[in-house]
Symmetry: none
Subunit: 221 residues, 4 copies
DNA sequence: CATGAATGAGGGTTCATTCAT
DNA sequence: CATGAATGAACCCTCATTCAT
């Protein structure tokens, strides 16, 4: 009995590991070749598994892409949320989120490229991202911290500049304080005064330290 | 001799027409399937020409895409610029440009989809678009109408929300005054006061009337 | 572990077999349509494999042609060399080689056609063929058995008539003793006396028996 | 009436000229790309005529190739025959023919390349070439100047080395006296004694001077 | 007779997916 | 569950030929 459980557990761990290797490779390849790249060959050779093995994990390309997108969105939230949660004020929260996410783009260019290639749809579709952002927006509007016509517009005013910020970060044409200035301007677009926006954008909010064992970690082997 | 000239002219006109048909069809198909879709079949059947005819005009997919992108950028500028040029103040100009371009997305959804799929790169790469936007940005900063860290950031603050606005427009989830509110918020992000931003965003600036004979017109036959 | 080795070995054997089937079919088709015929369709249907399978073995037409040419040259040498090696005297060796190769053309018309279509280049380019012939030429000149201006000329004097001989053999317009007479005349052109040339050309030198399992065997299934 | 005749004559001259331009271009292209090259594009642009014009002169590729081959064979005979006709003895005639034709290959490499690519078939099929060669062979055998098994063999012994000689000439790997030595060896292969063969091969027989207005002249414009 | 845009059959190549081992 | 050879649909591209002007 113990033996069987052991065998089962070991097998499951191996499964997880192979799946993780596939996801990691897929992220890398998608980030370079776009959503519907024809790339299973590249992915499996990167992951070091055989052709057929792939299909033991994902029924097809589309399912794989969805998995990578979901995993990426989760990853972003998992990393950024703790910093954001230091703050109560929705302005402070949005500013911190914007800064952190731009910083993450610098630290994980592959992730950023994936998002840029996937376009707005990846971030918009991810329930977990949309939820996190929308909560702060609603709170900001309800408490009159934000002065903006409606929630959807606010979402576009945040996500649009952030994606362009990813682009700029990847192209390495950003100054030292680009994240802060971007955050400040975003708050201004939401109706926060320039002074308050500057205060939120520049206040200390911590530094990302990348864990080495993320499912999508593409620095480590 | 007259005969030869006539023959030549007729041939040239035929060429122009076929090329236009191909570009029109390509825009439609690219807008649905993205930049590197393998779609020559669809394009030629839409354009109603033979396979070989395609290759009399474009060497391959990539060349076609570039042509469509260039034509699209030209088209956008050609339509929007006259409205923008009514104004001197860079704030007024940016507001008018943003509104018009969002409105154009509503009138030519195919064009908008093409831009959204192509991502920032289409608009950023188009020299003609980048030039037009950057000129107003520089003017705004120089005359202190805008208060923003630098030109590149300003570009991202304009283009990011506009692309999200395209997305929203295509999804039909925009209120009546979405263009104006988007324009207002964009100006605020550039450091224009909420009051001034509102004035620029809501002032009369004309209405787009689509010509029927655009190279990329996809309403007409 | 045994299992894995077994799987690997079985796969490899399958690969060899498929490759051989493709080469065999390709020889047949090239022999009928020349070097740069566009014939992958015919080859795969002859070999009874799918379109994609071809590209698992050869990147393109050209690579295939090179493989067939190399294999053909090897085949010729493999069959003829043992007979030639019975003799020491370069005259006897050249005579035997010429006769055997003409005889081979009769027994494997497909091979002969392939060579004729490919022209001198196939035989000249094949290092293995050129080496074998040149060695005897050098030996003949060094030992004064041959009296001929230089090595290159001697090569042309042997290969030229042999290719014409292939042609004649394929057209079935050769008498019983055509191989012997051709060999004799070739020796004479190299400066061997008519008497000696006749002796070499007509001495017993064996008979080709085709193995059924050659890579390029086109008689067997 | 005179007028009509004049118009007719002028038209006919123009036809001839266009046809000649097409043949010249075709020779050039065939010599570089082989018999069934897909090259009408290249030919017409070289000849400077329009696509459709081609089909006013040749029904298809094959007909064109046949015309070029015939014209080439004629050209060779037209140039070489006068030199050969200086001599009566079939040995002298063959020697002179071989030398002249190799020399021609040097002076008109395009022509030589065309023959090499076309392989034996071009020379063998050309009635005019075959006739000229065969007449001398028959005469040589009948008068016992040649000692060779049969006429067909003799043909192969002459044409084979000549084609290899073309090859060698094109590759520029021939010594000064290659033509003479080749001729000598060919005569030896036909049973002429080495002494006599040498005498025939080295006797003065004139020098080719290229006319500038040959139908196939590819030096002039 | 010259022109050159249009044609489309005919060939090449890729790549997601299947399946026997 | 891993493997990798085989598959074939879906593309891509070329080029000889036609035909309206």
């Amino acid at each position: 009995m113990v033996n069987v459980n052991h065998r089962t557990r070991v097998a499951q761990e191996r499964r997880e590991k192979t799946r993780a290797r596939l996801l990691k490779s897929a992220l890398l390849v998608f980030s370079k070749h776009g959503a519907d790249a024809k790339v299973i060959d590249q992915i499996i050779s990167l992951a070091g598994v055989a052709r057929g093995t792939f299909y033991n994990y994902f029924r097809n390309n589309e399912e794989l892409f969805a998995a990578v997108a979901a995993e990426s969105a989760d990853e972003i939230i998992r990393i950024v949320q703790p910093f954001v949660d230091q703050f109560k004020d929705p302005g402070a929260r949005v500013a911190c989120g914007v800064r952190m996410v731009i910083d993450l783009a610098r630290l994980r260019p592959v992730l950023a490229e994936f998002v840029v290639r996937g376009g707005p749809s990846i971030l918009s579709k991810s329930a977990v991202v949309a939820d996190a952002v929308m909560r702060d927006i609603r709170d900001g509007i309800a408490t009159r911290r934000f002065n903006v016509a409606n929630e959807r517009l606010a979402f576009d005013l945040i996500v649009g500049p952030v994606i362009m910020g990813f682009n700029a970060t990847l192209a390495k044409r950003v100054s030292e304080n680009y994240p802060q200035e971007l955050a400040r301007s975003v708050l201004q677009s939401l109706g926060v005064s320039r002074t308050m926006a500057g205060r939120f954008a520049y206040q200390e909010c911590g530094e990302i330290v990348l864990s080495q064992d993320s499912l999508l970690d593409t620095q480590g082997g």
